[in-house]
């Protein structure tokens, strides 16, 4: 793709990503906020494709679209209303939040523009996705080895936090109660 097309594509995606991120917090319906966030993620994923991150860009798009679908389900569960129809504005200390975020943008933007960035070191491999795979299965294997138990711990932690009644509620702290304390009697062997 020629340089001008890449530039135009990047600016369109960049403006789309930021604008839809703003929409997330100003729109008056949870469902629309979720769709706007999904759009923002898709724009960033496509921008990553422009930066030749084929694998990471596609993974970002796929993962975030699914994640936003899950988020919409949670909203319906917890908000207890039709999220597409109910207007809402639930914010506190909006002025302070705006001031902090503008200050953060100024500091980060100034850093981006004023830091004398070094020149590029090395050239990308012809197939960056294959290079990433070889790296993950070779030199960077430790990263995968560390991320895997973190993911397992997340699954266990998520279930422990989210479950309403566990075996300790049913059989006591030492698991020594013979008849489980269930709200309803019955079931297999009870």
């Amino acid at each position: 793709m020629s340089g001008v097309l890449v530039d135009i594509g990047f600016w369109v995606l960049g403006v789309l990503a930021v604008a839809s991120a703003v929409v997330v917090f100003v729109v008056d319906s949870m469902a629309r906020a979720t769709y706007a966030l999904a759009l923002s993620f898709v724009a960033v994923g496509l921008a990553l494709l422009l930066l030749q991150q084929n694998y990471v860009g596609v993974v970002t798009v796929l993962m975030m679209v699914m994640e936003m679908a899950v988020m919409a389900v949670y909203m319906v569960m917890y908000m207890g209303m039709n999220p597409a129809l109910m207007p809402m504005s639930m914010v506190h200390d909006k002025r302070a939040a705006l001031a902090v975020s503008v200050a953060a943008f100024v500091v980060l933007g100034a850093g981006a523009l004023l830091v004398p960035w070094p020149v590029r070191r090395g050239v990308p491999s012809p197939d960056v996705t294959a290079a990433l795979g070889e790296s993950l299965m070779g030199k960077q294997m430790l990263v995968m080895v560390v991320v895997s138990p973190v993911m397992v711990a997340t699954i266990v932690g998520g279930i422990v936090l989210a479950s309403g009644r566990t075996r300790y509620d049913r059989f006591g702290d030492d698991l020594d109660v013979r008849t489980p304390r269930d709200p309803e009697r019955g079931g297999v062997g009870r």
């Binding site: 906020a33 921008a47 639930m90 981006a112 090395g122 290079a131 790296s135 989210a162």
Partner: protein
């Protein structure tokens, strides 16, 4: 498209996410703010990789950021479920037990 312009867009995304994460009251909306901030980190890291050192190590860092995002979402939803179960509410203001 230069490193500076991509970082500027990422800074704008980060600032928008920060504003949302600080100001929103609903737990799920706070998580949306955090997601936008991590999104900005992904974009900035992708730009750093491409414009400064395009070797596979930088891409591995991006995958780690994506994994962190997944963990944040999963644990956030679990905590939201816990708060909702015990307090019957999905607002951050009803879970201020540890506030100083």
């Amino acid at each position: 498209m230069t490193l500076q312009t991509v970082l500027l867009v990422a800074a704008a995304l980060f600032a928008v996410g920060l504003c949302g994460a600080i100001s929103q009251q609903v737990v799920v909306m706070v998580m949306m703010g955090l997601e936008v901030m991590v999104n900005a980190v992904i974009l900035a890291a992708g730009a750093m990789w491409w414009f400064l050192a395009p070797d596979p190590t930088g891409q591995v860092l991006l995958l780690v950021v994506l994994a962190a995002m997944t963990v944040e979402m999963a644990m956030g939803f679990a905590v939201a479920t816990l708060v909702h179960r015990h307090r019957g509410s999905d607002m951050t203001d009803s879970a201020t037990d540890l506030a100083g």
